[in-house]
Amino acid sequence: MLDVLLMVIIFVVAFLIGYVLIARVPQMLHTPLMSMTNAISAVTILGALLLFSVPTTAVEKTLGAIAIVTAVFNLVGGFVITDRMLGMFKRKQAVVWKSNERTFKTPSVPTESRE
């Protein structure tokens, strides 16, 4: 029973920490965020691996193999796309400074210096 309690606690705490952190992610990064968390959800690969930690029947082998392919596809694909997307975001200082200097009221974009 202690195990169950621990598992529930882990779920709740991870959900809450995730919630607090992710609520602060700027809209600009929402697509890469979803793509990355998508890759994280492929953590089911662990479950698929564990299927093979005991002797398996042919059917179980087949199902387990499909689970591994889909999970790894999700994992690798998700992380690679996220990296590609984030790499596309560029800044061109010259233009930035001009528009931040004297004009629009609310330049609340995260700047490199604040990172």
Partner: protein, 479 residues
């Protein structure tokens, strides 16, 4: 106990990765941090348990890596929503397969009650996520009709499927007969797949960002249930984090459209009543429209007028909508922004939360076109600036700039936050046609005297504007 600390360490690395999603460059490190966390998790599991068929496992892992890497390297940014939806589905498949094998396998130690319930939930949520995601992906990739498909008695069917699922799950839980369990589980799997389809077909168009975010959450939830079923803490923690992320994005999207989750999923807005309302609005709006636009046409070619407005402007805010993505005009739009910027004007891009087909999609599309991301603004940060803006340039957006959301109280978009393009001194609209957006509410901005309408393909229109600006700049230099 030491195993617990190792697990907690890995979870901390993962959280550190997510915490870095602040600005694009650090986020890239954050993504790599998450990769490290998952590699550690894999290493730990391989260290703790002996995999009995290493050759088979490695072979299929390599296969998955090749497919995933190949697809990820080739996909373009317009296809991203379809791709992400497809991946949610792949995650769902893995989750329901693991749950299914755990429930059916004949082991010395039977599953505990908790594990069994969790596995049943993992099976149902995983399978529904799978089929729902496939529908979503098909719609986003334009392989399926994008508009909502409403079956007769849609909500009734949805409830009926849920009841069948509940009954089958209970039957699978109580029956002791192995053959009966197998039958029950296969039936359960089938009904969960049907559930996902019924659930997803009704959602379409501008509601897709809600659906894709929701499926993100359910994919995480399925992983977490799987984790409880096999008693793996890492799976639970990762799944819970993903579920949290998906929930937040779902909430943000619903809020941006001023709609409740139930409202979106139960299709409350698309009933016949609201359709008749909007059609009466069309006829009502069409009369003044004709009158007010006469003078504009007298002033000659609207494109010439648009170019001169842009040439005279000091401050321009560009509002891209999904129409820009459909016309594949993002590069031209970004070039136009740079051209104007080179001419000494102040340029911002104002992006509505539901401008794309998934949360943050428009930002990524513009980033692909090499926009300077420091010039991208969110709705709440930019709305006060429109009053002091000379030209609001709308490209392929309708509902998100429709003042009817504020001025009227009886439309489907009433109460939705909009970009206040109507407050700018002049408005230039580069849309395909004058038809209302997804909501079906006509946009009074189109008939406003300060608006210049440039109808037609946005890619062409924006290119024309670019050329026009270059010509006028040359002429000015010639003087």
């Amino acid at each position: 106990m030491s195993a617990l600390w190792v697990d907690l360490g890995i979870i901390l690395i993962l959280i550190a990765g997510i915490a870095q999603f602040r600005a694009p460059r650090v986020a890239r490190t954050g993504n790599l941090t998450a990769v490290v966390a998952l590699l550690c998790a894999l290493a730990v599991v391989l260290y703790r348990y002996r995999v009995l068929d290493p050759a088979l496992v490695v072979a299929f892992a390599v296969l998955g890596t090749l497919i995933g890497g190949w697809v990820a390297a080739r996909v373009n940014m317009i296809q991203i929503p379809a791709m992400v939806a497809f991946q949610h589905g792949a995650g769902g498949v893995a989750a329901f397969l693991v749950s299914f094998v755990e429930l059916t396998r004949d082991t010395a130690v039977p599953l505990t009650r908790v594990a069994e319930v969790a596995a049943l939930l993992g099976l149902v949520v995983g399978a529904a996520t799978f089929s729902g995601s496939m529908i979503a992906s098909g719609k986003l990739a334009n392989r399926l009709r994008q508009t909502p498909t409403i079956l007769p008695r849609h909500n009734g069917l949805l409830v009926a499927t849920l009841v069948v699922i509940a009954l089958l799950a209970v039957w699978a839980g109580v029956t002791g007969n192995a053959a009966a369990v197998l039958v029950a589980l296969v039936a359960l799997l089938a009904s969960a797949i049907v559930l996902g389809i019924i659930f997803a077909v009704r959602i379409g168009g501008a509601d897709m960002p809600v659906l894709i975010s929701f499926l993100n959450a359910t994919a995480g939830l399925a992983a977490a249930f799987c984790g409880i079923a096999i008693g793996n803490r890492l799976l639970i923690a990762c799944g819970a984090t993903v579920a949290a992320s998906g929930s937040i994005l779902t909430h943000v999207m619903c809020q941006a459209m001023n709609r409740g989750l139930v409202n979106v999923f139960a299709g409350l807005r698309l009933d016949s009543k609201s359709e008749t309302t909007s059609s009466t609005v069309v006829t009502a709006a069409s009369t003044p429209e004709g009158d007010s636009r006469e003078p504009v046409e007298e002033r000659g070619d609207p494109r010439v007028r648009a170019v001169s407005l842009l040439g005279d402007a000091q401050r321009v805010i560009i509002i891209p909508g999904y129409g820009m993505a459909l016309a594949e005009a993002s590069e031209e739009v970004v070039q136009l922004g740079e051209r104007l910027s080179d001419m000494g004007k102040e340029i911002l891009f104002a992006i509505h939360p539901v401008a794309g087909r998934m949360p943050g999609h428009m930002h990524v599309l513009l980033a692909e076109a090499e926009v300077d991301y420091a010039n991208l603004r969110e709705l709440k940060d930019v709305n006060g600036d429109f009053v002091e803006t000379d030209v609001a340039l709308i490209v392929g957006a309708c509902d998100v700039v429709n003042p009817a959301a504020i001025e009227r109280s009886d439309t489907p978009i009433s109460g939705m936050s909009i970009l206040r393009a109507d407050e700018a001194r002049h408005v230039i609209v580069c849309n395909l046609d004058e038809r209302p957006g997804y909501s079906g509410v006509p946009n009074p901005l189109y008939s406003n005297a300060k608006t210049v309408l440039l109808l037609g393909d946005a890619k062409m229109t924006v290119s024309t504007l670019l050329q026009g600006l270059s010509c006028s700049a040359d002429a000015a230099a010639g003087d």
